[in-house]
Symmetry: C2
Subunit: 437 residues, 2 copies
Amino acid sequence: MKTINIGILGYGVVGTGVAKLIKEKKKLLESRIGAYLNLKYIADIDTTTDRGLDIGDTILIADAKKVFSDPDIHIIVETIGGKTIAKDFILKALENGKHVVTANKALLADFGNELVKTARHNQVDLAFEASCGGCMPIIKSLRESLVANDIKSMSAILNGTCNFILTKISKDGSQFDDALKTAQELGYAEAEPSLDIDGHDTAHKLAILNSLAHGMEINLEDIHVEGIRNITPVDIEFARTFGYTIKLLAISKIHDDHVEARVHPTMIPKSNPLSHIDKSMNAVAIDADATGQTMLYGHGAGMMPTASAVLSDLADIARNIISQTKRRVPILGYPEDNIKKIPILSMKELYTRYYLRFDAKDHPGVLAKISGILGENNISIKSVHQKGRNSSGKVPVVMITHVAKEEWVQKALNEISTGKSILDRPVVIRIEETNQE
Amino acid sequence: MKTINIGILGYGVVGTGVAKLIKEKKKLLESRIGAYLNLKYIADIDTTTDRGLDIGDTILIADAKKVFSDPDIHIIVETIGGKTIAKDFILKALENGKHVVTANKALLADFGNELVKTARHNQVDLAFEASCGGCMPIIKSLRESLVANDIKSMSAILNGTCNFILTKISKDGSQFDDALKTAQELGYAEAEPSLDIDGHDTAHKLAILNSLAHGMEINLEDIHVEGIRNITPVDIEFARTFGYTIKLLAISKIHDDHVEARVHPTMIPKSNPLSHIDKSMNAVAIDADATGQTMLYGHGAGMMPTASAVLSDLADIARNIISQTKRRVPILGYPEDNIKKIPILSMKELYTRYYLRFDAKDHPGVLAKISGILGENNISIKSVHQKGRNSSGKVPVVMITHVAKEEWVQKALNEISTGKSILDRPVVIRIEETNQE
């Protein structure tokens, strides 16, 4: 049997998980792949902390260069994270003719096109199943399974921290800050949580999936991103009244000459399978023209689910090596020459439905004022819900609109906000109506 | 660009779908795969019926031999169905050195081991993504994505007809016969529906998935199979009272030296994601040691979803041909020499929980009699629900047991059934408690 030599850069949570699987699943992997996966090196600046794994004395080293320069190494696994040394090391590994496996969505979202180009130039593979949706085979599905489909739309829950917090607010009526604190105590959220809760992590993943779904260059910067900091139990309760659940969704929809790509809290009806995805679980729903609606569901993060995805990439590359082939499936699902630039729709051009909540003074004529301004801006109201005055003397007025243009809605809200009868900036949550089979 | 020549055997629904995708997605497929997929022949005894597809004059022929003997043909797609000529043609195609793609689960479940052996002997690929779960990439996930996982258990809704009927009974309170009639009128059930509603189709798929999940020979005959003919609105209503939904599940669980593999109506709690899979949709939930709980969801049948899965196999094989490799991933996920025989647990050895419904005469002491016999057989009761006498003077007594052995339960029910106070054969529905994340 052939031996495939592997080097891991970064011995943190994911790196440890990968080493653990290579070690503990040695027999299974050999039995399935028909080759030895030999972990030759792990490079990390910290060579002393005990990760609870017996990998032998000679494997853990501080010098990453020794790993990506070693002529025996076939595959480099990058689990350092971040966009500085990780990028530098990956580029060097690719230039040295190593295949690279990474879970680094932030790096791919920002510099993926450059990495793909470098991999092409050096005729090696770059694999990243673990970058989106953790253990779910979403990258493989888009690259290989849905190959005869035009992907009409994707909507996805791609951040476990946000989903945990939204579930917590929804089930317990917690305030956002308390739900975040619980998430931090349970290890679902970082001490510095903004990458997750402000939607950026979800946007990184959407940039990658968007590229694979539509055969386009990775484009993070044009994706509109909103996080979940402003979601309150009040809005979740109103959502329930109207039959909706609030989720932080990554949304991608293809149109004739552009694509929608946006991340924001979204109201979805109970008939949408994503509405049942709770706690820290992730899911990607895809509507493609041949398959119709499909969904993948699983743990989007965590040591072992992420390591499982890395191992599927390692197995794929190992099978290529045994079969004496490489770059069998193009990195972005389309050969590089066929990758297009598809513009992302400017947010103000978006047409969708809206949930609007106004905290109004309980004056006669307030409702007429609001509806009037909305009407003048072409926004028609599907339903209105006005609750009794609350303790602070404010009256929450909630409206669900028919499909309207984002630009009109923002203009109308600006006009309404300047009025004396409205106390706070109105709450705006977009609604996705989805047709389940 | 290289041209990959394809022949389709069988121009029925799936064959038409495959031809349609090859034709209509020509540009997309070429752009993704970097090769031409050329549909050279379709063989069908009926060469006159209009399938609504313009494939040109020379492609449709009656002589299948011409297709699988043509030296130019790289891949044969078998969409005839059944186990007679389909088997014969596939064997001949394999022997002629053609790669074969099939959606034929009945054939694979019964003769898969022989087909795998023949493919190996002739060093060609045999692919069958469309055989289980329609468009869902379940075969690919088991063979490639979950490669570093031991699959602890799978539970799956694999038959759209059954799921449609159970959803109909559940939502409308229909009787089974009426729900079946509706399913037939809407095209979800065949005129002769027994393959679906008696659970055999689900068992065929389970035999295939079981093999892939555990690296074992395909074994259909030891799978216990029960269908849904006896499911009544009464039991669905009781299930709801206890917080359960009834689904026809395929269940596979690995143990030290054997595997459970069974198909039967099953009560599952609302926390199980499968409980939300309604109408004709399919889903496969997998609990693996590294990933934890995952699920795939999608259309399990239908022309285009099935054709989409066939095309993913075609693309895989085409990419192999372009990369000048073959048999890159073993047919059953493990190289043939590593495939084991793992015995399937005899049903009487099963330990699980049970829902039992007795239609008893309203005599004093009936409940004591039933509980007594259950107790003597080691079966302890978790909860009892006794409704008021119904119009026929019968009293439904419903019990949920703790975990008990199937053998004990069957023995106890035989004893109870012989008693004069019980009117009908008791209803037995097994319960799966699942731990979601």
